[in-house]
Amino acid sequence: METQTVHHGAMFDTNELVINMGPQHPSTHGVLRVVLRLDGEKVVDCDVVIGYLHRGIEKLSENRNWTQIVLLTDRMDYVAAATSNVGYCETVEKLLQLEVPRRARYVRTILCELQRIASHCLWVGTHAMDIGAMTVFLYAFRERELILDLFEEFCGARLTYNSMRIGGLPLDVPPGWAKKVLEFCTIMEAKVGEYEELLTHNRIWLERTKGIGIISGPEATGLGLCGPALRGSGVARDVRKDEPYAAYDEVQFDVVIGTNGDTYDRYLVRMEEFRQSLRIIRQATEGIPEGPIVGKVPRLIKPAAGETYHAIESPKGELGYFIVSDGKSTNPYRFRVRPPSFCNLQGLRRLVRGHLVADVVALIGSIDIVLGEVDR
């Protein structure tokens, strides 16, 4: 990026300062590099450089059979691995036109929402830490730990779960698990209030987040933002409501939207989503039906030639899979992911312009990216 001379009058000509923020920087949430052009501390422009965590997951998938790919999807959004699993499995099920048993769909809903809470916990912790509130981070991780325990009990893993199979679940939920989930809901309800007590009405927090990175609804839609980053601008777009998957059409919940589209509203949206997720988990856990956990899956998964796109609402936004099958081989012909973090990240340049260096970290936190998903 070229620097320009800024004319401040006849006496002084000053140069813009170019700063490489990342890939080694405490608050770029992984390996993101943002090249900032600064006038003093004001950001004139920025360039987002990605690719430091590229592992070629899309290409790899074209050489794996359909079941093996589930494991690769874990590695994309590694703080919400189960959501990626569900998204992928549902896409293949759509391609195969496979019926998934109701019990499996309910468990998927519970897992997805638990995962949303875990992901938002990580987000609220790191976002608050970027703005300097250290303690929220450990509080949020304490609750995330409870969710990881629930996942460990369900599938044995704590980060990359490989928790889904095409057509249903790999195994049924262990006995007593549902009760533990409900107990967790009670604990979490109180803890969300604790986070909010530390932040929501904190004067410093308000000053640091209100009016920072304002983006209007139409502009956010135009940039392709999704998830809470879009809903914070007042656009009520939520795949769970608009194109229900799993058991979302059988549970009651509200789509939370903001009004101003600033960092504070995106924060409020996610905080309220904690509560909505708990609401969904409670309904799904109480209404979990009896029955099989896997549908009629052919022994050899080999979808007929064709293509399909299916999206789900991951904690970060619309996570879509586009899969092409040539009908001949046992692996996809083309595997493409629409990762919400990637789409949200391209809004960063628009958001940070004119703000200060201190706000850049707040804004990176506010769009909630996971670099594993951006680079794949």
């Binding site: 700063i19 501390e41 250290m134 450990l138 000053e207 201190a358 706000d359 970290v361």
Partner: protein, 342 residues
């Protein structure tokens, strides 16, 4: 022939120096333990009983680290900056009294004041040295020839001009009430009580001054929520990004010693110094330590609870809220002193 008083004075000077050093080490430990307590962790526990030797381990680790200097750095200023910071931090404490007269078990007939130097303009000395310590940070930021360091140094100077004025005005209020520039005189004026139970502390007559002093004190010591020059999440480590080994340790030390100094001055000015109920003046330093510890705990508590301000917001806060408030406080105090007498 050195008199016992002279030897005691030398001893006291050494004692204060060593105590400041170990109070900084102690503060590191306390900070980590209190942070752990607030965050529901355990904190250091491996090195020594309950992790008490952790600061020592940290120091040893820092001593054995390689001393690095960026090739583009200004070598002289780069080496000078941490020295300025550390020197200023220690120097300011020289005029701070921390206890009443003591005869040291009858060894010194005339009595020894627990203070390195009784300067009759002590407040001005503290204020002057505190302002100088900013040079350490600004020079460190500039001489490193690194972008993050530069931003940290610039923030520090911007921050200084926005809190120093209100800091000074808050002190002026106490000067009017105490009618002296000597910290010892000011402390001695705070002895006794009103109505038998309200301690004669200046915080009672100068509550706004105390709040302004404490707020500016946080900015002065670069502690969260005003730790902009080293804002980790924004500037990596700010002005000391390029420092390593002992030169980094000196900045670290300076920060903690500054905290102790600011707390000690606050105790002398507003909280009655070594005066307190139950204890006689000869062991009044126990009260002094307790009060300083309370303020230090408050600092640590703030740091681990609050988010960080933005430096332009601190400037706005300093100029638009703190300064007018300090001016009003000073005027009201002056009027009060004129009307009631001091």
């Amino acid at each position: 022939m050195p008199t016992p008083l002279f030897i005691a004075q030398i001893g006291l000077t050494l004692f204060v120096f060593v105590m400041l050093l170990s109070s900084a080490a102690g503060m590191v430990y306390v900070e980590r333990k209190v942070a752990a307590l607030l965050q529901q962790r355990i904190g250091p526990y491996l090195v020594g009983p309950k992790g008490l030797l952790q600061p020592l381990a940290d120091i040893i680790k820092l001593m054995f680290k390689e001393e690095l200097r960026p090739s583009a750095a200004d070598a002289f200023l780069f080496a000078l900056a941490p020295i300025i910071s550390a020197t200023c931090a220690f120097a300011a404490f020289a005029v701070v009294p921390f206890g009443g007269d003591t005869t040291l078990l009858g060894l010194i007939p005339g009595g020894l004041r627990l203070q390195v130097a009784d300067v009759n303009v002590a407040i001005l000395v503290v204020f002057a040295i505190a302002s100088m310590s900013v040079y350490g940070i600004v020079l460190a930021g500039w001489s490193s020839n690194s972008k993050y360091s530069l931003l940290g140094g610039l923030r520090s100077s911007a921050q200084m001009i926005s809190y120093e004025l209100s800091y000074g005005l808050a002190l002026a209020g106490v000067l009017l009430v105490g009618n002296s520039l000597s910290l010892t005189d000011i402390v001695n004026r705070q002895a006794g009580t009103w109505l038998g139970f309200i301690p004669h502390w200046f915080v009672v007559v100068q509550p706004i001054g105390f709040l302004i002093y404490m707020t500016a004190g946080i900015a002065e010591t670069n502690r969260a929520p005003f730790d902009f020059p080293e804002a980790e999440q924004e500037l990596v480590a700010g002005y000391h990004t390029e420092y390593s080994s002992m030169s980094f340790a000196m900045f670290f030390l300076a920060e903690y010693v500054n905290m102790v100094t600011v707390s000690a001055v606050a105790t002398d000015l507003f909280l009655g110094g070594w005066h307190g109920p139950f204890l006689s003046e000869s062991i009044g330093w126990i009260w002094f330590l307790l009060k300083v510890a309370a303020i230090l705990f408050f600092y640590v508590w703030m740091r681990w609870t609050l988010p960080r301000y933005r430096y332009d917001q601190l400037m706005r806060f300093g100029w638009k809220i703190l300064l007018p408030l300090a001016v009003v406080n000073l005027l009201v105090t002056a009027a009060g002193v004129l009307y009631f007498g001091s």
